[in-house]
Amino acid sequence: MDLKLKIWRQANQNSKGELKDYAIKNVSADSSFLEMMDQLNEELIDKGDDPVVFDHDCREGICGMCSLHINGEPHGPENATTTCQLHMRKFKDGDTIFIEPWRARAFPVIKDLSVDRGAFDRIIEAGGYVNVNTSGNTLDANAIPVPKADADEAFNAATCIGCGACVAACPNASAMLFVSAKVSQLALLPQGKVEAKDRVLHMVNQMDLEGFGNCSNVGACAEECPKEISLENIARMNREYLGASLTSTK
């Protein structure tokens, strides 16, 4: 199929970007969206033009590295699907496709479609871990009983791949869905309970410092999340945060 592409080109964080038009021919309906981008870049390189920079890694929907705001939606039109798992058969011959980077103050553009999601790493560093004893007498994880329902909930939260589509979709550019998934996966388990209060306070504090917007429960994040992380996690984080702020002794 033949397509018209409108792609955001931006030299670096401080320069002004703009949409540029590209025409691409003979795209296989069986190729993935990123393979279509590869095809375009090969043509650009052949012509001596600057290829379009975009993020990707595993290309099997598990690493969270790919992004792209495609035709007005993060990860494109298909639900519960990362851009690398999106196929060109979802588009029609002759379609015009808008391709933009995630847009948020907290995610500055590095170049073209690639944004710096380091804010997420700093939120994890602020408390998204457990301090386990690894000095030779480590406890077997299975020795601690966990109710099946809790284990399932924690696992669902842990499937978040940290892609940032939630921020990209949110009209407020809020990171609540990501942060609440990372708070929940630990808060639900006995191993995470010990540091639970500090964790939620520190992670939320870091989230605000990074310049994300505030959650007003719009729900666009959960609709666009490729891993279908649910709003229940945000409610859980609100509970944890309220409880921790009222009872924390620090």
Binding site: G72, A169, A173, S216, E223, A235, N238
Partner: protein, 213 residues
Amino acid sequence: MSLTGLFLISFLIVHLLGNLQLLDLSVEGQEKFNAYAKFMTTFPLIKIVSYLLYFSILFHAVDGIYLAMQNRKARPERYRSWKPNRNSIWASRNMGLLGTIILVFIVLHMSQFWYVMHWGEIGTDSQGNKNLAAVVIKTYQDGSAGMIMVLLYVLSMAAIAFHLWHGFASAFQTFGLNHKRYTPAIKKLGYAFSVIVPLLYAIIPVFILMAKN
């Protein structure tokens, strides 16, 4: 936001019950309403609650507008292609706009009735109570100006309806109340509330206008 929002919701119920008395436009009905208005402006406990209410409106509006501005700043560069209707409802994304319309209405509404009741020129009824009912009836029956007031009132109730279509259930989520069984019920209750309560409010001035002839 959620605490003041829920408080304002509970106020909407009490205020509605008071206002519905205006559907009885007989002399006795009007005097009953005036006696009720006197009670509401003089009873000490109600006075305390009313100060809490003024504070809640101010806090809710100031904090709401501040948050809405902060949220705009969180995305300095707009998307050129943006299809939000595929992932969220319009009301949820326009709480600031809807709230501002409501705020303008509250100012107008309070200057028309609350101010007049406290400090304005107002006659008394046969019981010696300030005749607020007459002020209300005049406001909405006063020729084309009355018609415009009724229209503004109805439009503002629509804004409240949209504000609460999202806001009602949202307030519970903010408090961390999200439950597989109760949340769907809270949502249904919210939708019902956001349609029925503003509709009942809107009926009152329309009824008064129609009762003119």
